[in-house]
C-alpha cells in the first residue's frame, strides 16, 4: 500500500496535469453549448467593470464614427416616419395595438468584442437590470450582430454571428428561399448560407435578410450580400458564400430586439414537438 502511495506521489505533477487538462476541456465543452448558462464569463461584475473602463477610454477615439452611424440611422428612420405619417387620403382601420407591438427594442454599447477566434463573443453594457433577457436578438444599423447568451445584473454576453455555434435563420430576399447562415470560422467578413437547394436560382449580389420564422429577429433585417454561388461537394445543396454587412471590428453601438410573443410561440412549438431554430 505504501509503495502504491509513494508511486502516486512521485507522479503527482503528471496526475495534477491530467486532472487540470480534463477540467479545462470539460469547461470548454460546457461553455460552448449555446444555451449553457456559464458562471465564468465576462458578464460578471468585476470583469465587466474592467472591460467597461477600457471601452470608455477606447471608444472616445471613435466617437465621430459612432455619431456618423447614428446620424445616418436617424435619417433613414425619419424617411420611414414620413411615409408612415402621411396625410390619410383613404379610410384606415386601426389594428389592435397588441398585434403591432410584437417586437421591443433597446439600445446598448459594446464594451468587449473579439473576431479572431472560432467562437467569438461580445459583451454589452446592459444587463437584467435594464431588461435584457437571454435569447434576445442583437443588431446594429448595418445588420445582424448576434444573439444574447447569458445575462448578469449589469452586463450581458452575446454570441456573435462570428461564432461557429451560431445558426441564423435567413432567406434570399429576391427569391424568398430560406436557409441557415453559419460562420465557418475563417474570415471575419464572410459567412456561409447553408441548406439552399440546388434548383434555387441564387446569384451573386443577392441580398440575404433574416426571415420571420426565427422568432428572435423581425423579418427583413440585413445579414449580407451573396459573394459567390458554387455547386459544392454536397449533392443536395448549393455552396453559397456571403459578405456580412456588419463590420464587426467597427461595431460600437447595437440594438436589442425582444419578441414579446416568444413565450407563446415556445409553448406552441413544444406542444407540436418541433425544434425551433434561432
Amino acid at each position: 500500500m505504501l509503495r502504491i502511495l509513494q508511486f502516486l506521489y512521485s507522479l503527482r505533477s503528471f496526475l495534477l496535469f491530467v486532472l487540470l487538462e480534463v477540467l479545462a476541456i470539460s469547461l470548454i465543452v460546457s461553455n460552448n453549448s449555446p444555451q449553457g448558462a456559464a458562471f465564468f464569463n465576462s458578464s460578471n461584475a468585476l470583469t465587466g467593470s474592467v472591460l467597461k473602463t477600457r471601452s470608455d477610454v477606447v471608444d472616445f477615439f471613435s466617437l465621430a464614427e459612432a455619431n456618423d452611424a447614428l446620424l445616418s440611422e436617424n435619417a433613414r428612420l425619419l424617411e420611414q416616419l414620413k411615409s408612415v405619417n402621411s396625410i390619410p387620403d383613404s379610410a384606415k382601420i386601426q389594428l389592435d395595438s397588441l398585434l403591432e407591438a410584437q417586437f421591443d427594442f433597446k439600445g446598448a454599447r459594446i464594451i468587449s468584442n473579439s473576431l479572431r477566434f472560432a467562437q467569438n463573443h461580445i459583451t454589452l453594457n446592459k444587463g437584467s437590470k435594464d431588461g435584457v433577457k437571454p435569447g434576445m436578438g442583437v443588431f446594429n444599423e448595418q445588420g445582424v450582430v448576434g444573439r444574447v447568451k447569458t445575462v448578469n445584473e449589469n452586463f450581458s454576453v452575446v454570441i456573435s454571428l462570428l461564432n461557429t455555434e451560431m445558426n441564423l435563420s435567413s432567406k434570399i430576399k429576391s427569391t424568398g428561399d430560406f436557409g441557415t447562415t453559419k460562420w465557418d470560422g475563417k474570415d471575419s467578413g464572410k459567412s456561409k448560407l447553408l441548406y439552399i437547394p440546388r434548383h434555387v436560382n441564387a446569384s451573386q449580389g443577392d441580398t440575404i435578410v433574416t426571415n420571420g420564422y426565427s422568432a428572435v429577429f423581425p423579418e427583413g433585417i440585413l445579414v449580407g450580400i451573396i459573394e459567390s454561388v458554387n455547386q459544392g461537394a454536397d449533392p443536395n445543396y448549393l455552396d453559397i458564400v456571403i459578405n456580412l454587412s456588419v463590420d464587426f471590428s467597427r461595431a460600437h453601438y447595437v440594438y436589442l430586439v425582444e419578441n414579446t410573443q416568444l413565450a407563446e410561440l415556445d409553448t406552441l412549438t413544444k406542444q407540436a414537438e418541433i425544434e425551433n431554430e434561432f
Binding site: 496535469f17 479545462a24 470548454i28 456559464a38 464569463n41 479572431r116 477566434f117 472560432a118 475563417k186
Partner: protein, 173 residues
C-alpha cells in the same frame, strides 16, 4: 525565493495580465499572429521551482485570461500543458554542468541563443494546443499550424523585447 523576489513576481504577473487583457486582446498581425505575452510570466519563474505549484499557478493564470477573453478553458488547458512541459524541457536543454542555483530562465541571464531554444518550442506547444482546441472540428490542420507558428514567433519576439527593456541582470525584474 525571498520576499522581495515574491513581490517582483506578483508585480510581473499583474502587469503582463493587464497588458494582455487591455491591449493585446484583439491584436492579430495579418490575422494569424496572436500575442500571448502573459506566458512570459510562466516562462520566467525560477528554474528550481517545483512542477506542482507551477502547474497550479499556470492553470489559474490561464483561467483568469479566459474569463476576459470569453474562451473559457482554452487558455487554461494550453497554459497547463506549457507548465507541465517546461520542467522536462528545462532538463532536456540544460547546459553542461547544470544550472546555477539562483538562475532564472530569462534572457539577460541565459543569453539569446539559449533563450530562443527554451521559449520557442514551449510557446509553440501552447499555441498548438490553444488553436487545436479553438478550431476543433471547423478549421483545417493547415490553418492551425499556420496560426501556431506565427503566434509563437511573434510572442517570443515580443517577450525578448520586453526583457531587453525591463529586466535587469541578476534581479527578478
Amino acid at each position: 525565493m525571498n520576499f522581495r523576489n515574491l513581490i517582483t513576481y506578483i508585480f510581473l504577473v499583474i502587469c503582463l495580465c493587464l497588458v494582455q487583457i487591455l491591449l493585446l486582446k484583439n491584436l492579430a498581425l495579418f490575422g494569424v499572429a496572436f500575442c500571448f505575452i502573459y506566458l512570459l510570466a510562466i516562462l520566467s519563474f525560477p528554474i528550481n521551482m517545483r512542477s506542482f505549484p507551477l502547474i497550479l499557478i499556470s492553470f489559474g493564470l490561464g483561467l483568469l485570461i479566459d474569463v476576459f477573453y470569453d474562451t473559457l478553458g482554452l487558455h487554461a488547458a494550453a497554459a497547463t500543458l506549457l507548465a507541465f512541459l517546461r520542467t522536462y524541457w528545462l532538463k532536456a536543454i540544460s547546459p553542461n554542468g547544470g544550472y546555477d542555483d539562483a538562475n532564472n530562465p530569462t534572457l539577460p541571464e541565459m543569453g539569446i541563443g539559449w533563450y530562443i531554444s527554451y521559449s520557442l518550442p514551449l510557446v509553440f506547444a501552447f499555441s498548438l494546443m490553444f488553436f487545436i482546441a479553438d478550431q476543433w472540428g471547423t478549421g483545417g490542420l493547415f490553418g492551425v499550424l499556420n496560426k501556431s507558428l506565427f503566434s509563437s514567433i511573434f510572442t517570443v519576439i515580443l517577450a525578448i523585447i520586453v526583457q531587453l527593456l525591463f529586466f535587469k541582470r541578476r534581479r527578478g525584474i
